[in-house]
């Protein structure tokens, strides 16, 4: 078993309260399923859409957003899977995909001393 990070990017905003709630409920169900199947390591945290960017060189601090809206990371989750193929397969159930967003699946580097 190895650990992986899911980074959620982009995704259309919901167009109504009802839609917003339905998407939220899909996420709740998906997260729950990951947990029940023993894949959940850390549910993670949602991130604000705005922030600051500290740049190399003169260390200037500028306001976010830092990228196109579709590239902004909206949150992350840590999961456990057999290998990256399984981690990617599990990510296919993520509700963000229905809203035009992506899930980036990244293995967490192992510190094998």
């Amino acid at each position: 078993m190895a650990e992986f990070a899911y980074l959620y990017r982009g995704g259309q905003r919901p167009s109504s309260p009802e839609q917003s709630q339905q998407i939220m409920q899909k996420w709740v169900a998906w997260m729950k399923e990951l947990g029940e199947k023993g894949h959940m390591v850390d549910r993670g945290q949602p991130l604000e859409q705005s922030g600051k960017l500290v740049k190399a060189g003169n260390r200037s601090v500028t306001d976010g957003p830092f990228a196109e809206a579709k590239d902004v990371v909206g949150g992350f989750t840590l999961i456990r899977a057999k290998d990256i193929a399984e981690a990617a397969e599990l990510a296919k159930g993520c509700p963000i995909l229905e809203r035009g967003g992506d899930v980036e699946v990244r293995p967490i580097m192992q510190m094998n001393m």
Partner: protein, 429 residues
């Protein structure tokens, strides 16, 4: 916390809370800042979604949403107070750090929110806004329907609905203040328009062209929810409000039987009456009794009485059609319309036989408007069929089918048309 398990208990929560949240924020920000209020509410929903999808649902989701709206409102006030004015009577209090939080808190009290919802409802029914737009506005602001959902309910295009709502909101924002519901005389003056808009909202669900059952039920349920809010206010408990609520409950009670188990439309005569919602019928009859105080006899009283006549009858045959006809006669006096005349003619046909029914149909003035209404031709076809005139019945069912507005109506009328050709089939009522 268990996230998924309690999902069922929050059905339509966001949609339900939307009206209350926008109403209270508009009261604080001022009507001219309606857009800001809507943005803050949307932001609160986004936050709730983002956090709940990770942490699962909180203990008390409606209270969580209200608290989020309140905090976002405070943020918005602090951010915007140099750039804009808020509600005139609160503006000074919102500018000072000493008073801003207590002022906002006070307006988030349960009773204050209830009144704000009514203020917004009455504001949406301003005379400067067309009836059609009033209903769209109520759906959008008070019922939290997005533009696409309103368009779906009305079976019209996204762009047209968006434009209609935007125009109505401009009028609303320019009107300066929310309607004041605590002035009895102003309340009474605006109340008929509010009743009318809720009646139209209900009818859009009950009789409208939208085929989707879930949407229809939702519109009816929203209309009932809003009329209950009106009744809960001391000024709103007028006889016509009770009658309107009675009418809604008695008609909504029949929704479960309007389609059979294969999803086919069922006319009143063929409905499985055991499926009617007995609780709604009981509530409707109780409300109808309340409506009988005073001398006012509104359109809603008569329509509720008609609905009660059906609700009380164990079958079509056992229905007191003579009473139904006389109620329709009364309705033709108060609120004449081709559709009322059509329903009267159908009742005449039940009470006095198909020849009389046809005569009543022929006597309807201005029936050009009915030509596009499929159930006009269908009623004629029904009477012809009962007289054994299969060819005439077939022709009229053909006309009805051509006028059908959605797949459900098409399927139902196609079945009736097909049954006309089958000589062995029993003649339907």
């Amino acid at each position: 916390m268990d996230g998924g398990g309690s999902a069922a208990t929050i059905d339509h929560l966001f949609r339900r809370q939307h009206g209350r949240m926008v109403a209270v924020l508009t009261r604080i920000f001022g009507m001219h800042n309606l857009k800001l209020a809507e943005d803050v509410v949307q932001d609160a929903f986004c936050r709730a979604s983002e956090i709940w999808k990770v942490d699962g649902l909180p203990e008390n989701p409606p209270a969580w949403l209200m608290a989020a709206a309140k905090n976002r409102a405070l943020d918005a006030i602090r951010r915007e107070r140099t750039a804009r004015n808020f509600a005139p009577e609160l503006d000074r209090l919102l500018r000072s750090e000493w008073t801003v939080a207590p002022t906002v808190n006070e307006h988030f009290g349960a009773n204050a929110i209830r009144d704000d919802l009514l203020r917004m409802m009455f504001s949406c029914c301003a005379p400067a806004i067309s009836e059609e737009s009033q209903v769209a506005l109520i759906l959008n602001i008070l019922c939290g329907f997005g533009v696409d959902e309103v368009a779906g309910a009305f079976v019209s295009g996204h762009a047209a609905v968006e434009k209609r709502i935007a125009r109505a909101k401009k009028i609303l924002a320019a009107s300066g203040m929310l309607f004041e519901v605590n002035s009895a005389s102003e309340f009474a003056t605006r109340l008929p328009a509010v009743q009318r808009a809720l009646y139209l909202l209900f009818n859009e669900g009950y009789h409208g062209a939208c085929a989707e059952t879930a949407m229809r039920t939702e519109l009816c349920r929203e209309a009932i929810r809003l009329i209950r809010e009106v009744l809960a206010h001391p000024n709103g408990a007028a006889p016509a409000s009770f009658a309107l609520a009675a009418l809604m409950c008695l008609n909504a009670a029949r929704i479960p039987s309007r389609k059979d188990h294969s999803g086919n439309l069922q006319p009143l005569s063929d409905q499985d009456r055991s499926q009617w919602d007995r609780d709604l019928i009981a509530e409707g009859l109780r409300l109808l009794e309340h409506s009988a105080s005073g001398t006012e006899l509104s359109q809603y009283h008569v329509e509720a009485a008609i609905a009660a006549a059906h609700a009380n009858a164990p079958s079509t045959e056992a229905t007191d059609w003579r009473q139904v006809v006389s109620l329709y006669d009364m309705l033709m006096q108060i609120q004449p319309s081709p559709v009322v005349a059509l329903n009267r003619a159908i009742a005449v046909g039940q009470s006095e036989g198909p020849e009389r029914g046809l005569m009543a149909l022929d006597a309807i003035g201005g029936s050009e408007r009915l030509a596009r209404y499929p159930f006009y031709a269908a009623a004629r076809a029904d009477f012809e069929l009962r007289l054994g005139h299969r060819d005439a019945a077939r022709a009229h069912f053909g006309d009805a089918l051509a006028a059908a507005r959605n797949p459900d109506e098409k399927r139902y009328l196609a079945q009736r048309l097909a049954a006309c050709g089958d000589v062995s089939a029993p003649l339907q009522r």
